[in-house]
Symmetry: C2
Subunit: 443 residues, 2 copies
């Protein structure tokens, strides 16, 4: 049995009572938290770590992202959504190779670990290559292989039936660190029969679903015209919310009251990605109506083509600031609410049991954040300093299942220098290929 | 003559043409930039620095803050403005001592240097103690001793006439690094005669003015009732905008078209502090109408009691995101516009000539930002990476007037460990004294 004893810590447990401990011990045994508060006097640890000047908290869970898209960071700037997508994002992605996906996701893994994320919910293509990165990095992830259902010509990589084989081989591997979801892109792209087939498969495989849902009023109008129902009602009518592994719906920006009631009743997790909405100038509502209706809200970065980074501190702070501003209520999302949304709400969405609170028995998925930095002092409120002053770069140490992924800002599992080099090289080559193809195609 | 030669740099010059240089030299001689691009082959430097993997850009200028208020970081959270001010901020500040100001400002100086700020525009009390910090830190600042003009009982520290003596002794000292402004709090607190006296003094002393102006519709209503004019028109009628040293007006959130025209015509610099507005749930408009009218807009953090940090990267990113969102236009504030607002626009507001562009002859007030970090790769757009992905913690080196204030993340001029200790101790003691006084007063 491996025992790690971290001493002299401030601890934001995010347990049900919101307990905060000072000058406390945190003991990890065999990948799980064994003691929080005071270690037994006779404890014999394999590793003793001085946590002075650091606060421990549950690691972040990025509930919706497209991690390989780091390769498009800064590639499509200051453009309206259609030009962003058609002239830049899709042009580059038309030249996508599985290797690009690997190096893009590896770059994202470095970035996520450095900024305190322990688990992510990824929606993209060639997810077998992202699975490699998850295995190597030590992170946890739910991987969703995005499928459109509009024919082999339009699919990126294999179609639905091939991803089924991949799901069977992949779900639950890497000691349970890798989980999978079925991944229809969205009801505005995928045909109804295809969505129904996915619901069937989800029941057969015991899987959940991760999709984009009701992102704007145009999608609502289109759905009403095609199906006589709003997107939420439509996919609900297909039984999509009743699948065994749960549903993560990205964005859900255009919801009315019946939509919210359906999402709440069915326990759908809505992943909110405010930085993308602001950057791409999308209309987004305050969270209060959906929270009041009982909808489960978690937070994500979305892809680095729109955010442009994967720092969950930034997403958490933006969520809190937006809510106060949009509601014109400085008391909106008070206290540790944003921290919980960015950690345990995401963990529940991803189905990682026990993740998101530092309590005995929970998996040791945690981060240490530096308090010996001028912007983190004085400490009138640890919570406020974490929500409104901390940045990804303040994370010093990251642990997943009791294994250090970062110690004192040094990555432990990934060859960062090589990843920076290869990710840069692949990203530049990919956009060059895409632009060349587009020019040739246009003649 | 001291010569510093930085090689192999990416350089975002922010010159008029927006020139960006790759693998370039930057040479500093006697505190000023001598060469940008290629150094003369026969250059003999006292110090040669390898800038590989770093981008040089002008340092940030924080155009409105209350730096000593770091001592109230996290002290007043999730409260409406009146309770924030009356129950928390003023309670703590009622116990303020000059030493608290010194240590609070010293903590802010550490934070500002670490996040790439080279100059700040400070509005607070006991500014003689902030001047000590500016002298010691090597930063540049415009210091404004805030006065209310409502009698000795209500003033914090000395009254107006004493600050005049201090201005005479202080303006232009520390080799010109310290400048001063006259500091009426605002037209909604200061009596009209008092404001007129300040305008007179500004002419006598050749000084500018830094005040809070037209922050919300309530202030507009109050001004119309008292003076028959909106705040901007009212202070203009007193000649306040015609003082020799220029005017920085903080916030200016409630402006109509004639207000904007007056501010534009008089060359008033409006300091925009969006994170405070969101945190305290204040109504704020997009910037486009004022920019279109020709108003000069610069950026600030405001005080850490409301922000909660002094990271100008965060303010810059928030400004760009807000503008795209509020205008529902992803093309709003494109390209390097946010960078210019956060650097050279502030430099002009503060009257530091030549600051804000890396061109020959300009003062060497610059920062180096790390590019060898996963969130800063790939480099499709240096500008987008700086505006939307970089954080204060990515700044590795800071130079002011050719002097290093930080090298490889190590502060060069300040004793950071002692400052963290003393700032924490003084902040905790101050809020305890304030709370005790309040309890005694209330009996």
């Amino acid at each position: 049995m491996t025992t790690i004893h971290i001493r002299n810590l401030e601890i934001v447990t995010l347990d049900d009572a919101g307990t905060i401990l000072h000058d406390a011990d945190l003991v990890v045994q065999d990948g799980r938290i064994a003691y929080v508060g005071e270690a037994p006097p006779d404890l014999r640890a394999d590793e003793v770590v001085d946590g002075s000047g650091r606060v421990a908290m549950p690691g972040f869970v990025n509930a919706h992202c497209h991690s390989p898209m780091t390769f498009e960071r800064g590639w499509a700037e200051d453009l309206p959504f259609d030009r962003w997508l058609n002239e830049k994002i899709w042009v580059a992605e038309s030249a996508l190779t599985p290797d690009d996906v690997y190096w893009g996701a590896a770059l994202a893994a470095c970035e996520m670990i450095r900024s305190g994320t322990v688990a992510f919910n990824d929606h993209y293509f060639y997810m077998d290559r992202v699975a490699e990165v998850v295995r190597e990095s030590g992170l946890k992830a739910v991987l969703t292989w995005c499928v459109f259902g509009i024919g082999p010509e339009a699919e990126v990589g294999p179609g639905l039936e091939d991803t089924v084989e991949w799901i069977k081989e992949t779900h639950g591997t890497a000691d349970g660190r890798i989980r999978t979801f079925l991944g229809p892109h969205s009801p505005y792209i995928c045909p109804p029969d295809f969505l129904s087939r996915i619901v069937e498969l989800a029941h057969e495989l015991g899987q959940g679903i991760h999709l984009h849902l009701s992102e704007d009023s145009e999608q609502v109008t289109q759905s009403l015209e095609r199906h006589g129902m709003r997107p939420v009602q439509f996919v609900d009518s297909l039984g999509l919310f009743d699948v065994p592994g749960g549903v993560v719906a990205a964005h859900g920006l255009a919801l009315n009251e019946p939509d919210r009631d359906i999402l709440a009743e069915k326990g759908v997790h809505v992943a909110h990605c405010p930085i993308t909405y602001m950057k791409l100038a999308m209309v987004f509502p305050p969270l209060r109506p959906r929270l009041a209706a009982g909808v489960r809200v978690c937070l994500g970065t979305d892809g680095p083509g729109s955010n442009n980074d994967m720092d969950m501190f930034a997403v958490m702070r933006q969520t809190a600031l937006n809510e106060k501003y949009l509601m014109l209520d400085p008391e909106a999302l008070p206290g540790d609410t944003p921290l919980r949304m960015a950690t345990q709400n995401g963990a529940r969405a991803l189905g990682f049991e026990g993740m998101g609170a530092l309590v005995p028995g929970a998996p040791a998925d945690l981060i240490l954040v530096n308090l010996d930095a001028p912007h983190m002092r004085p400490i009138h409120s640890l919570i406020a300093n974490l929500v409104f002053a901390a940045k990804g770069g303040d994370v010093t140490d990251v642990m997943v299942d009791g294994r250090w992924l970062m110690r004192n800002r040094e990555l432990q599992t990934l060859d960062e220098a090589r990843i920076l080099y290869e990710a840069e090289r692949h990203a530049q080559a990919m956009v060059r290929r895409g632009m060349r193809q587009m020019r040739e195609y246009r003649g």
